[in-house]
Amino acid sequence: MHELTWGMPVIAYLFMAGLGAGALTTSASVLLRGGQSGKYFSIARYGAFIAPIPVALGSALLVFELGSFQAGHWFRFLNLYTVINLSPMSIGTWLLTIFLGISVLYAFTFLSKDACPGDKQDGLRRLAAWVGIPLGIGVAIYTGVLLGAMPARPFWNSPVLAMLFFLSALSTGVASIILVRALLHRKHASAQAEAHYHESGYILSATDTLLIGLELLAIFLFLMYAHLTIGSVREAATVILAGGELSVLFWFWVVVLGLLVPGIIELAILVPSIVYHRAYRSHRVIEILVPVVVLVGGFMLRYVVVIAGQITHPIGL
């Protein structure tokens, strides 16, 4: 058995990097696809401010977790920048570094209080957004590739994992925007601003619901493949199936609490809008509760996956 060489810092990092990448991707997409109109600009702004913080924190955690750092070689992690190779971690390092730069730049463009579409930062902002989207996607996906690249880890060794992490990253990114937005929301004086708020809330909720659905699909595919195949992967998957060590964590925390509960709640609120074309209105409590649950679910997903990968092994000699 391996020791659990990747512990909480790594799990937290995977979650936070995904969150940040998701937030930036969402923000930039919203900005480029409609933020210009001003309606969704605030969403883009929230996302832009959120994005660099968890990524920077997560990266710092990662550095603290490094063996060299713990042994007192504080700056040895800079060796990462002397090399570039096909190791997912090397790619990830560069991606992350550039991402951090871009996301800070991107956030900077939103910094002034009266930032609005078409101000003098607009060109830079749009450029950063264009660069930020692929970077965000890259950072979100690479965390899955990082784990999925190794046959020695049958639980991780699945292409679906990268997709799952990507979807979860976007989902948690969106959720973080919803949460921050709901927390910082003050009741608008004008009815139009209030309507704008709810309209943009609809976009976020709809996106989140869609992502949750896709996540469920990815999990289904992940388990399906694991179950249909034979050998190491199948045996490894049993840790999250009924009776496995992590089954409760996985099914309750990740699937039910992190996906089904928020999915159903959001769906329940969305259905009137979609089917009857009623104006979307969400309650503030729900706008806080749902993203919190999604974030918890996203964290637990990383937790279960990272732990499961480390306690399972290829079978046979």
Binding site: T82, V83, L86
Partner: protein, 745 residues
């Protein structure tokens, strides 16, 4: 040439790294290309850090077999021990224990200064003393006891080793008759059994044998390297190894395991002889020429049929017959392995007698692939000791006078002696105990009773390197040097090859540890101040170890310095070949000069002249406790060695799965093991490698010494459970005569 290449390569590596940095700046496009560079690899792998300074040959002492080692010392620190390639025993290898010698040397638990007890016995409160104070303390106490009870009020315990002689001589010169040595804790019954039948214990040509039968001998876990290597080679060369043992040891795993019911081994050997004789498979020529009493044996074993043995031993009659036939086919290249630690059952000596008998029937002696008498040793010079007083009192228990006429009386016997001391049934009281290189508290059956004997003692002195169980209960601990810090007497040995080897200091002693000779000198000088001896004690020990070694080497064409340089020396001519007994050039050291199926010596002393089988007592619902060791532990000596302890930090009790299921015991769960004399809490190891009626505990755990920080609090002690039973002919303690109850905790 090579160094240059490495250097150039390193430079290449550095320049390449600069190159890589450049590429990094160029972006990911270069990544694919760079992958191919990685395969070339860097070479800055600290070349040459394996320049292990000085290499000093010496002799290992992690167990008693004294392999040749080479010690790599850098700046006075021992960095690595390798096997000595020139030593015929090791041929460059050592076992795990030999490798871990460094950790015994640098053990943080080692005693580095003389310690005098400050609290109650066993409380663990010590105060550091100077050596002068320690010598005075020891001498004071010895003097007091000798005043009150005479020198016979002292008990002198030690185990066989090169330096034991100095410790023994101190006892001899003080005039105590009470020695308790290693033999009756180990192999006395085998020695006497073999001696009574063929005048000595033969060696075994395992490498060339076709059939090897071992009764409980666990050669692959209790090492003597040449045997180990030969046995494995023998198996590779096609020998069939049959191991008769109630548990599946590593040795049994490498051969055919015959899970015999404990204490019925004699039934098996008798039945094998029965088949050999009945089916006319024995070696008639050998039996005619070199044995006596065959007709009596034939008549005697007629009653022991395989069918009868099946009931006794649990081995199918068919298997017994097959074993006998296979042996007969392989004969004379059959090794009937004598075994070593034969402290098993109360009938052990008689059982051991059947082994050379079986061997004789197969004609498997003095022949390639069979048993043989080894090359003998290199003759060393004798040290010229002063004359010791000879008019000493008889032993406290009368061991040398009657009860065990066939035993080696100089070695004494623990079980009987302990009873005499505790119950005051001896001829006189014994109140002082000097212990060197022995751990009686762990080594002797019924540890609680040994503790009782300690309570009787006014004074206990332990000379040890670590706070062993016994040292922990002593009044004073004198720190001895380990084998890596001292010069020892020359050791001489003979297997197929005879040679001598030297044990010399490779590093400076840790702390204030002193060699045993220095310690003895100190005590002797302090004794001289208190009493008059003839000759004075300090005169007796007025020499250095170098003098002693020089005396030993005097008749040999080699001096100490040369030997120290080369580690071993062997005579150019190894006069040894097989066949001397068969050609009648040599006699067996028995009264008849032959292998004796019927022993007059035994008859004369009231024992059965031929081994007579008695069925063992049964205790339904209980298990018989057997003990033994793992390959990386020596007795109770190095369980506290951190490297060795790491392999197996806690011992456990082997329980058959059926028994475990019945008693609701889970693998890895704790159980309480109770015998008539003690109880032990220990982890369960549920395994099919042991008989349902037997449990096994690895010896040497469950220490009471908190000074052994690595070991303390781990595992359970087997000796606490064992009842005080001993072999009836030699008083060799019987370790496997205890029945235990196991319950889930």
């Amino acid at each position: 040439m090579k160094a240059e290449a490495v250097k150039a390569d390193r430079q290449a590596g550095i320049s390449r790294r600069g190159f890589l940095g450049l590429c990094a700046a160029m972006g990911t496009g270069a990544a694919l290309q760079l992958r191919s560079f990685k395969a070339i690899g860097k070479n800055n792998d600290k070349p040459g850090s394996w320049s292990r300074g000085e290499v000093i040959p010496s002799t290992c002492n992690m167990c008693v077999n004294r392999c040749g080692i080479q010690c790599h010392v850098v700046n006075g620190v021992l960095e690595k021990i390798d096997g000595d390639y020139h030593n015929p025993k090791t041929l460059g290898g050592t076992c795990a224990k030999g490798q871990a010698g460094i950790m015994t040397l640098y053990d943080p638990d080692r005693i580095k200064y003389p310690l005098i007890r400050a609290g109650a016995r066993g409380e663990g409160k010590w105060r550091r003393a100077s050596w002068e104070e320690a010598y005075e303390y020891v001498a004071d106490n010895l003097d007091k006891i000798m005043d009150k009870y005479g020198p016979e009020g002292l008990l002198w315990s030690s185990s066989t080793d090169l330096t034991e002689i100095f410790f023994l001589k101190l006892g001899v010169f003080l005039g105590t008759p009470n020695f308790a040595r290693h033999a009756t804790l180990c192999l006395a019954s085998r020695n006497v059994g073999y001696f009574g039948t063929m005048g000595g214990v033969p060696d075994s040509d395992l490498a060339n044998a076709k059939y090897i039968i071992m009764f409980g001998a666990n050669r692959l876990e209790s090492f003597e390297l040449p045997y180990n290597r030969d046995l494995i080679s023998g198996i590779e060369n096609g020998a069939k190894l049959v191991v008769v043992d109630p548990r599946m040891t590593v040795t049994a795993a490498k051969g055919t395991w015959v899970p015999i019911k404990p204490r019925t081994d004699m039934a098996l050997t008798l039945a094998l002889m029965h088949v050999l004789i009945k089916e006319d498979l024995y070696d008639k020529d050998f039996v005619d020429k070199l044995t006596v009493g065959f007709d009596a044996l034939k008549e005697h074993v007629a009653q022991y049929s395989p069918e009868w043995a099946e009931k006794e031993t649990d081995i199918p009659a068919r298997t017994i017959v097959e074993m006998a036939r296979e042996m007969a086919v392989a004969a004379p290249a059959v090794v009937v392995f004598p075994g070593r630690r034969s402290s098993w059952y109360t009938n052990d000596t008689q059982f051991r007698r059947t082994l050379p008998m079986l061997m004789a029937l197969l004609g498997a002696f003095d022949v390639r692939g069979g048993n043989f008498v080894n090359a003998g040793k290199v003759k060393l010079g004798e040290f010229d000791w002063e004359m010791a007083p000879f008019d000493v009192a008889p032993c406290v228990d009368g061991f040398d006078e009657g009860p065990f006429p066939l035993a080696a009386h100089d070695d004494g016997g623990y079980v009987m002696r302990r009873d005499a001391i505790i119950d005051e049934t001896g001829k006189y009281p014994v109140r002082g105990w000097m212990i060197y290189k022995q751990n009686p508290l762990a080594a002797v059956v019924d540890g609680n009773r040994t503790l009782k004997m300690m309570e009787k003692m006014d004074f206990i002195c332990s000379i040890d390197v670590q706070p062993s169980q016994t040292a922990w209960m002593a009044d004073i601990i004198l720190p001895e040097t380990t084998y890596l810090e001292r010069l020892d007497p020359i050791w001489t040995t003979g297997g197929k090859v005879k040679f001598i080897s030297i044990r010399q200091p490779v590093v400076k002693p840790q702390g204030e540890a002193r060699t045993i000779l220095d310690i003895i000198k100190g005590i002797a000088a302090a004794m001289d101040k208190r009493r008059t001896f003839d000759p004075p004690m300090s005169k007796v020990f007025d020499f250095t170890m170098e003098d002693y070694v020089d005396k030993q080497l005097a008749p040999l064409p080699i001096d100490r310095k040369t030997l120290a340089r080369q580690g071993i020396w062997m005579p150019g001519q190894q006069k040894w070949k097989l066949g001397a007994y068969r050609r009648g050039e040599k006699d067996f050291r028995t009264p008849s000069g032959k292998i004796e199926f019927v022993s007059e010596r035994f008859r004369r002393n009231g024992y059965d002249p031929m081994p007579v089988y008695e069925p063992p007592a049964e205790e339904a619902g209980r298990q018989r406790l057997v003990t033994g060791r793992y390959a990386w532990f020596t007795h109770s000596a190095n369980q506290n060695n951190r490297w060795l302890n790491a392999i197996h930090p806690e011992n456990d009790i082997w329980i058959n799965p059926d028994v475990a299921r019945e008693k609701g015991i889970k693998d890895g769960g704790y159980v309480m093991v109770r015998s008539r004399v003690g109880k032990v809490k220990i982890k369960a190891y549920v395994t099919p490698r042991i008989r349902p009626d037997t449990v096994f505990i690895c010896h040497g755990f469950g220490t009471n010494s908190a000074g052994q920080t690595t070991l303390y609090g781990k595992g359970g002690a087997d000796q606490v459970l064992m009842e005080s039973k001993a072999d009836v002919i030699t008083n060799n303690q019987a370790l496997h005569e205890t029945w235990v109850d196991i319950t889930k905790v």
